[in-house]
């Protein structure tokens, strides 16, 4: 069976959820993966310290785009300080597939821009 490009990964890649821009928005961040050229940005609207709405936008490989799409569904309604503390493993678990070291940055790009938007920290999640 296909281990990486599972049907749901490809489905999210082809039909990403919460994709596009949000205007107005309260928080935003944009970044790329210099290794392969994946790009991803996020717009977040905040109400009562929570993610009221959120959109990802960009272009990249199936893993980076599916990671953004899948996690977006979990993120809406989450407290901002909780988003800021999400660990790398959360992002990997969202994908539900084994991620090799060469694809790890693809899997973590969505989390990286989320952290950038909520904390200003632009470093890669460990």
């Amino acid at each position: 069976m296909e281990a990486l490009y599972r049907d749901y990964i490809l489905e999210h890649y082809k039909n990403p959820r919460n994709y596009g821009t949000l205007d107005p928005h309260d928080l935003e961040f944009h970044d790329h993966n210099p290794l392969c050229g994946d790009e991803l940005g996020v717009h977040i609207r905040v109400e009562d310290g929570k993610v009221a709405d959120l959109r990802f936008h960009g272009q990249g490989c199936a893993i980076s785009q599916a990671a953004a799409s899948i996690s977006s569904e979990e993120l809406i309604g989450m407290k901002l300080d909780e988003v800021a503390r999400l660990p790398a493993e959360w992002a990997i678990e969202q994908l539900g597939i084994d991620i090799s070291p060469t694809r790890r940055k693809c899997a973590l790009l969505a989390l990286k821009v989320l952290r950038g938007a909520t904390t200003g920290d632009a470093s890669w999640p460990e």
Partner: protein
């Protein structure tokens, strides 16, 4: 080194790594533009150097040191002859990037000032962009770019127009594009720049491995290339420079070997080429590069070029069989080197490369250290297949089926 001339179809056996299987399939290596594989003769030369001759060069008086020095300096002579340039003005560096940085620092800082321009092109590798950005920023100069046409080519008219403004101090251009494959008319570009009073640097990293090279015929002020793309080891690059410029330039790095005499307050410099080779040189790597150019010369660079052209033509003919493929660069194999960049609709290049790997086909995906060019092409990245002497039509066929398999995985 005594490699007999033979049809290129047989040379695959000279490259031990190509015996490997990946995922149970015969390895197809299509990333020679990133780094080439090494023939047995190069591996032997490096090993023989360490096993039998290792000593530091230019200093020891004992036999071993003499042998090591001879091996290294002999390699320099053969490398210079291979490129068509004087041995004295052929400097060994770490790689092409260091060779270009050497020119940017040791020549650029003295000769590029406020209001001057450095002219490069949109198809340069980052190694021929960033050193000039740093130089221009430091000196208050302006970095300008020549554009690249739809078919991946430069315009000599645009070049003339920029040169006519009279502010270009240096023109730096790639001989062969690592993304588009474009074979630039560097002799003509250099001639026009010289008439306009500009100095010239040609980045030959993709050209030296695959074209019959005569730097004297191109006649630039500087010509840089790297060993590891030309079947040699990593860690060794080459800078050919015009004698009087190298003479007048200050050193790039200071240290041992590059001095004539060191006083407490000042030093005088060694002769060329050693003035630009501070510290212990990459000796084994130089010896290995000597073996690499011997191997290429024995095959004959005309044959190498013919092989690359034939294979590129075959790839340009076969790849359109894959639905949704978009191929970049000049359509005519006469006007390009052995590299083909492409995009597949609906699959990002990173996924294309991952799925090709499952078929044991190694291709590159990404921006190929040419982010400005990606922006011009309107893509975030491309997939790239590149060829060398050990590749065959069967390898291209394997690539085509790997791409078709990738489309099936993505249900396209």
């Amino acid at each position: 080194m005594g490699v007999a001339e033979k049809p290129l179809a047989d040379v695959r056996a000279d490259f031990p790594v190509l015996d490997r299987e990946v995922n149970g399939k015969r390895l197809v290596y299509l990333d020679s533009a990133a780094t080439s594989q090494k023939p047995q003769g190069v591996l032997d030369a490096v090993e023989d150097y360490y096993r039998r001759h290792n000593a530091n060069i230019h200093r020891g008086v004992y036999s071993l040191a003499r042998e090591a020095t001879e091996l290294f300096e002999n390699a320099r002579e053969r490398v210079a002859a291979f490129a068509g340039w004087d041995t004295t003005d052929t400097i060994f560096t770490k790689n092409a990037t260091e060779a270009i940085n050497l020119v940017a620092y040791a020549w650029g800082r003295e000769h590029v000032g406020e209001g001057d321009e450095v002219l490069i092109t949109h198809m340069e590798h980052h190694s021929n962009i960033v050193p000039w950005q740093l130089l221009c920023e430091e000196r208050g100069a302006r970095l300008r770019y020549l554009s690249v046409s739809e078919t991946g080519e430069l315009s000599l008219d645009e070049l003339d127009a920029v040169l006519a403004e009279g502010r270009v101090r240096l023109l730096a251009v790639t001989h062969v594009s690592n993304v588009l494959g474009t074979l630039n008319p560097v002799a003509e570009v250099v001639r026009r720049a010289r008439v306009a009073g500009a100095r010239t640097l040609v980045d030959g990293s993709q050209a030296a491995p695959q074209l019959p090279l005569d730097v004297r015929e191109i006649d630039p002020d500087f010509y840089a290339w790297t060993g590891h793309k030309a079947l040699g080891p990593t860690g060794i690059g080459v800078l050919h420079g015009r004698h009087e410029l190298l003479q007048s330039m200050r050193p790039f790095l200071g240290g041992g070997d590059m001095i004539s005499k060191v006083e407490f307050d000042s030093s005088t410099w060694n002769e060329l080429p050693w003035k630009f080779e501070a510290g212990t040189s990459p000796i084994a790597e130089g010896v290995g590069l000597g073996a690499a150019v011997d191997y290429l010369s024995a095959l004959g660079m005309e044959s190498v070029r013919a092989h690359e052209k034939e294979l590129t033509g075959y790839a340009l003919a076969c790849l359109p069989e894959v639905d949704g493929i978009r191929i970049f660069g000049p359509p005519d194999p006469e006007r390009r080197g052995g590299v083909v960049s492409f995009a597949l609709d609906g699959i990002h290049p990173h996924d294309v490369a991952e799925l090709c790997d499952r078929e044991a086909v190694c291709i590159r995906a990404g921006h190929h250290c040419a982010m400005p060019l990606m922006r011009m092409l309107g893509v975030p990245a491309t997939a790239r297949a590149s060829f060398h002497v050990y590749n065959s039509r069967a390898d291209v066929d394997r690539l085509v089926s790997a791409l078709q398999a990738a489309r099936r995985v993505f249900a396209l």
